[in-house]
């Protein structure tokens, strides 16, 4: 299969993730959308790595996985704190700081 197919898939996944972040109201869903964006970038990295016959991209993907895990750990901790204080994780309802 040509590398462009993987790139198109990565692009579509990335777009779904980005749009999801912008329109979703639930923080957990937002997290999942961000993860989708990161993983679409992983897919692009691996596709490029294969097309160029180098392994740098593969190594980079490991690092990204680690970073994503660290981010989600911190994010979920914050969601738990917010849920304890507010009993909601709807992004519209936790907004008290305004323009």
């Amino acid at each position: 299969m040509p590398v462009s197919a993987f790139l198109v898939l990565a692009g579509v996944l990335f777009a779904i993730g980005a749009v999801g972040v912008l329109i979703s109201r639930n923080i957990i869903v937002l997290f999942m959308c961000v993860e989708l964006m990161l993983n679409s970038a992983n897919l692009a990295l691996i596709a490029f790595s294969r097309a160029l016959h180098v392994v740098d991209g593969h190594a980079f993907v490991f690092l990204v996985l680690t970073v994503a895990a660290a981010e989600v750990a911190v994010g979920l901790a914050m969601v738990i704190t917010i849920f304890r204080n507010r009993e909601t994780i709807n992004i519209d309802r936790i907004s008290i700081l305004k323009w």
């Binding site: 490991f62 996985l65 680690t66 895990a69 989600v72 750990a73 979920l76 901790a77 738990i80």
Partner: protein
């Protein structure tokens, strides 16, 4: 093009088989509905409360610590495969890496998050 045709046939066959089995079971099965049937399945016990229960927060911490060592394995596998060529240098690096993670676990342990109380 022929490869895509094969994919198309697979899709139709897959969806078709599922639909046909559902249809056949629908035609064959007896239809007695009583309330116990729509209960949550809880190992054949009578379910306690609803299925929308709040899980204990502590699961989160355990999951977190699990993730740390889960991700560690991602690095350990390629390291183990290439270890023969890398030698002492890689061993020292991996020991340092694991030492930092262990420090994290040690911190969590001393802070008492591993106790279920």
């Amino acid at each position: 093009m022929t490869e895509y045709l094969a994919v198309l046939i697979f899709i139709f066959a897959g969806v078709g088989i599922v639909l046909v089995t559902f249809l056949i079971s629908r035609l064959l099965r007896p239809d007695h509905d009583y309330p116990e049937k729509s209960l949550n399945y809880e190992c054949a016990e009578e379910p306690v409360g609803t299925s929308w229960v709040r899980f204990n927060n502590r699961f989160y911490i355990f999951a977190l610590i699990f993730v740390v060592f889960d991700v560690e394995a991602v690095f350990l596998f390629p390291w183990a495969v290439a270890f023969g060529q890398l030698g002492l240098y890689a061993l020292v690096e991996m020991v340092l890496f694991i030492a930092i993670l262990m420090f994290g676990l040690f911190y969590a342990w001393k802070k008492g998050v591993l106790k279920w109380a």
